[in-house]
Amino acid sequence: MSPSRYRDGARAIAPIAIAAVTFGASFGVLARSVGIDALAATVMSATTFAGSAQFAVASILGTSGGVAAAVLAATLLNARYAPISVSVAPLFEGGRVRRLLEAQLIVDESWAVSRRADGRFDRRLLIGAGLVLYVSWVTGTALGSMGGEALGDPADLGLDAAFPALFLALLVPQVSTRRALAAALLGGTVALVLIPFVPAGVPIVAAAGACLIGWRRS
């Protein structure tokens, strides 16, 4: 474990960082259009740092959905971070405050790239990738909310397809055992079946339950 692994994490996430800046900018633009000013939008990206939840909040407040609906939707969307954070818990060392701060760099993408081929997670990969994503997301939000329409619609650039592509590329080397393949198929199916019936975010949490097929009685 050399310090260069932080850089490896940053390098691994670089293809997605550009998408993160652009989506951060589009969050900033959307936020401003519903009356969330540049300061509030940037503070939200710096403190929440979870794209889908932030988009949900902006769109719900924009359609006057109310505080409770916005908070509930965002919390459901982010509920997956409870099981995800448990999976990487052993990596975090030091005092509680340090662990709490470092844990904020856990997002889907940094978590996904921090898993090594041997199935263990790597703290330096996660932190390196997480920092790059954090700076990209917050910078993008600030640019967008201060008038970054010129950056364009991420969908026109196909950037929304970059995310499933990243997750697919990271999934393929993981399904090297029959159990892992079964968990992936079950998780994907559960998510697909649930999408039409439950609020966004819930399908991912339910799919996480597929990992219980690995339960062994001690």
Binding site: A89, F92, A103, G158, A200
Partner: protein, 102 residues
């Protein structure tokens, strides 16, 4: 405006708490052994769910659009053992191309 700051505060606190569950409550210790099998399957299960929701997830509906072509291109790039950067760019370029002509 106050409403916005209340939402930002509550959502921020909830997210910080959710991300901290593992690292703060269990941090620095190996997970109990009988959980090993479960946790090692969390990544494939959640990654597959992320692929599905990012690919066809809409607001309580399945949305089939140009992203499918993008993911097919990514899959092809993966078959050809292309590096991650190429896989991601292939998906974006193919999706953008389909949207540009439709």
């Amino acid at each position: 405006m106050t409403e916005v700051w209340i939402v930002i505060g509550v959502v921020g606190a909830a997210t910080v708490a959710l991300k901290s569950v593992g690292p703060v409550l269990l941090g620095g210790r190996p997970l109990p052994e009988h959980l090993d099998g479960v946790v090692s399957l969390l990544a494939p299960a959640v990654l597959a769910a992320l692929v599905v929701t990012q690919l066809v997830g809409g607001d309580r509906e399945i949305v089939l659009d140009a992203r499918l072509v993008g993911l097919a291109s990514a899959a092809l790039a993966l078959l050809l053992r292309a590096p991650l950067l190429v896989v991601v760019i292939a998906a974006a370029v193919a999706t953008a191309a389909v949207r540009a002509v439709s």
